[in-house]
C-alpha cells in the first residue's frame, strides 16, 4: 500500500501539472509558438514519431559509445595511476587541465581535426571527454582505498601485484567506479547534446539538432517532443546504471543495503 502510494504520488503531481498547463494554454489562448499545450506536444511526437525515433537512435548511439569509451579509458588510466605514482605525477595535471577546460570550447577544434565526414567519431570523442573525468578520479580514489592490511596479507602469501590488483584493489574500487559511471552516464548525454549543437546541420540528425532545427522553424511542439525524449533518455540511463549498481553491490556494500 505504502509502495503503491510512493509510486502514485509523483504521477499525480505530473498529471496535475499537465492538466493545469493544458487548461492555462487554452484559457489564456497562448499561441503555440510561445508555449504549446501538452496535447500538441504529444501530437507532434506522434506525427514525427519515426523521424524522432531515428534521431533518438543517433543520439543514443553516440551517448553509449562515448560512455563506454570514457569508462574504459578512465578505468585503464586509473589503474596506471594507482600502480605508479610516477605515471600519476606525470599525467594527472593534464587530466585536470582537460577537466577544467570547457569542452564546448574545444569541440569545434575536434570536429575540424576529425572532419565532418566522420562526425559520429568526432561527437563520440567530445562526449567521452566530458564524461571521462569523474570515472578517473573516483576509480583512482577507490583503487587507493584498499585495506592496507589486506594488501599485506596478500603479500604474505606471495601474491603478485596483478593478483593484488585483481583480488583486492579492483573489488574495493567497484563502488567508486559505479558511482563515477553514474555521473558519467548523464555527462555522456550532455556531451552528445553539446557535440550535436556544435556539429550543426548537414551531418547531425540527433535529438539535439532536431531541437535547434525545430526552433528555427518555430515548430515549438516538435522542440518539446525532442526535449521530452532527451529527458527520458537521461532518466533511462540513470535507472539502468542504478540497477547495475544495486545488483553488483547489494550483497556487501553499505550503500546498496536497504533498511
Amino acid at each position: 500500500m505504502r509502495r503503491l502510494f510512493d509510486i502514485a504520488l509523483p504521477l499525480i503531481v505530473l498529471a496535475a501539472i499537465l492538466g493545469f498547463w493544458e487548461w492555462k494554454v487554452a484559457h489564456d489562448a497562448i499561441p503555440p509558438y510561445v508555449l504549446p499545450a501538452p496535447s500538441a506536444i504529444a501530437g507532434a511526437l506522434i506525427d514525427n514519431f519515426s523521424s524522432l525515433m531515428a534521431s533518438l537512435a543517433t543520439t543514443l548511439t553516440v551517448t553509449l559509445l562515448a560512455f563506454i569509451a570514457a569508462t574504459a579509458a578512465a578505468l585503464a588510466l586509473a589503474i596506471l595511476f594507482s600502480e605508479s605514482r610516477t605515471v600519476e605525477r606525470a599525467f594527472h595535471p593534464y587530466a585536470v587541465v582537460l577537466q577544467v577546460t570547457p569542452v564546448v570550447a574545444i569541440a569545434p577544434l575536434i570536429l575540424l581535426w576529425i572532419g565532418y565526414d566522420r562526425v559520429t567519431l568526432a561527437e563520440t570523442l567530445i562526449a567521452a571527454l566530458v564524461a571521462f573525468f569523474p570515472v578517473l578520479s573516483n576509480t583512482t580514489l577507490g583503487l587507493r582505498s584498499a585495506d592496507f592490511n589486506l594488501v599485506d596479507l596478500m603479500r604474505l602469501y606471495g601474491a603478485s601485484r596483478l593478483r593484488i590488483l585483481w583480488r583486492v584493489r579492483l573489488p574495493t574500487a567497484l563502488p567508486y567506479l559505479l558511482s563515477g559511471m553514474k555521473t558519467a552516464g548523464g555527462l555522456s548525454l550532455i556531451g552528445t547534446v553539446v557535440a550535436e549543437f556544435v556539429a550543426g546541420s548537414g551531418a547531425a540528425t540527433g535529438l539535439a539538432w532536431r531541437i535547434v532545427e525545430a526552433g528555427n522553424r518555430l515548430e515549438i511542439a516538435t522542440m518539446f517532443a525532442a526535449l521530452t525524449l532527451l529527458a527520458l533518455t537521461g532518466v533511462a540511463i540513470f535507472a539502468v546504471l542504478s540497477l547495475l549498481e544495486y545488483l553488483l553491490l547489494r550483497r556487501w556494500h553499505e550503500s546498496a543495503i536497504r533498511t
Partner: protein
C-alpha cells in the same frame, strides 16, 4: 629447537618532520623455540607490532637479522581488525590463501569449510562479513590464518577490539588449537607469537612473555611461565599476573 632468532634488529620510521624519523626498535634480540606460545607485551608505541611485521617479512629491518635456522615455515597472520574482504562470503575469505597458492577449487573449498568448523563457524560458510558479529569475523580471520596449516601463527592484538566475554571465549579457542597441535601425535607443533597490551591475556595464554618497553622499542624482560592450563582468578594465576605486571616499565608518559 630454535625456530627463529632476531639479532640486533633496528627499525626506523620516517616522520613528516625532518628529524631522521622515529626509532621504533633498537637492538631487538630474542629466539623463539618451536612449539612456544610467546606473548609480546607492552604499551602502545613500543614496537611490538613492528616486530611482528619484521618476523612476517612484511617489513625489512634497517639493521640486524631475522634468521630461520631450519627454514622459514608457513605463516598465518591475524590482524587487530578481522581484515576480511567485504565482497566475499566467509568461505571465500578463508579460501583466499589457498587460491593464492593455486590449490584446486574443490579441495580449497573443503579445506576452508574444515577451517571454519575448527573455529566453530560451521553453517556460516555463505555469510558475508557484514552479517557477522565482531567475534565471528575474528573467528573467520583465524580460520583464514589456519587454513594453510601454518606452523607459525602471528597475531597482532587480535582480540583488542572485542568485548570481554567474546575475548575470553576466543582466548580459550586459541589455546585449544595450540594444545591440539602439541598433543596430537604426528601433527607438527604450532608456534604462536601473540602481540598484546593486556597483562591478563598474556598471563592466561603464554608459555613465555617478552615484556617490551618504548622509546626506542626493546625487550625489558623475558619471563618463562610455568606450564598451563591456568585457572583465571586462581592464586597461581594472580601470581603470574603480578610477576608480569612488575616487569612492565613504569607507565609511559
Amino acid at each position: 629447537m630454535t625456530l627463529l632468532s632476531l639479532t640486533a634488529v633496528a627499525k626506523r620510521f620516517a616522520t613528516v618532520r625532518k628529524d631522521g624519523g622515529t626509532l621504533a626498535l633498537a637492538d631487538l634480540s630474542f629466539d623463539v623455540a618451536e612449539g612456544e606460545f610467546v606473548s609480546l607485551l607492552g604499551p602502545s608505541g613500543c614496537g611490538k607490532s613492528t616486530a611482528l611485521r619484521l618476523i612476517a617479512g612484511l617489513l625489512p629491518p634497517d639493521s640486524g637479522t631475522v634468521d630461520w635456522p631450519e627454514r622459514k615455515p608457513a605463516i598465518g597472520f591475524v590482524f587487530q581488525d578481522a581484515t576480511l574482504m567485504p565482497w566475499a562470503d566467509a568461505l571465500a575469505n578463508v579460501r583466499l590463501p589457498l587460491d593464492l597458492q593455486h590449490v584446486p577449487r574443490a579441495e580449497g573449498k573443503a579445506r576452508a569449510a574444515a577451517a571454519l568448523a575448527r573455529v566453530g563457524l560451521s553453517g556460516f560458510e555463505h555469510a558475508y562479513p557484514r552479517e557477522l558479529s565482531g567475534g565471528m569475523k575474528m573467528r573467520v580471520s583465524i580460520a583464514r590464518a589456519l587454513v594453510t596449516e601454518p606452523s607459525l601463527l602471528l597475531l597482532d592484538e587480535p582480540f583488542a577490539a572485542l568485548d570481554e566475554p567474546t575475548r575470553a571465549a576466543l582466548n580459550d579457542d586459541l589455546l585449544r588449537l595450540w594444545r591440539e597441535a602439541r598433543d596430537t601425535p604426528g601433527q607438527k607443533d604450532l608456534t604462536v607469537i601473540f602481540v598484546t597490551h593486556s597483562v591478563g591475556e598474556s598471563a592466561y595464554l603464554s608459555s613465555r612473555v617478552l615484556v617490551m618497553a618504548p622509546r626506542p622499542g626493546h625487550i625489558a624482560a623475558d619471563l618463562a611461565l610455568p606450564p598451563g592450563p591456568r585457572q583465571r582468578l586462581s592464586p597461581a594465576f594472580l601470581d603470574i599476573e603480578r610477576r608480569i605486571a612488575a616487569a612492565l616499565p613504569a607507565s609511559a608518559t
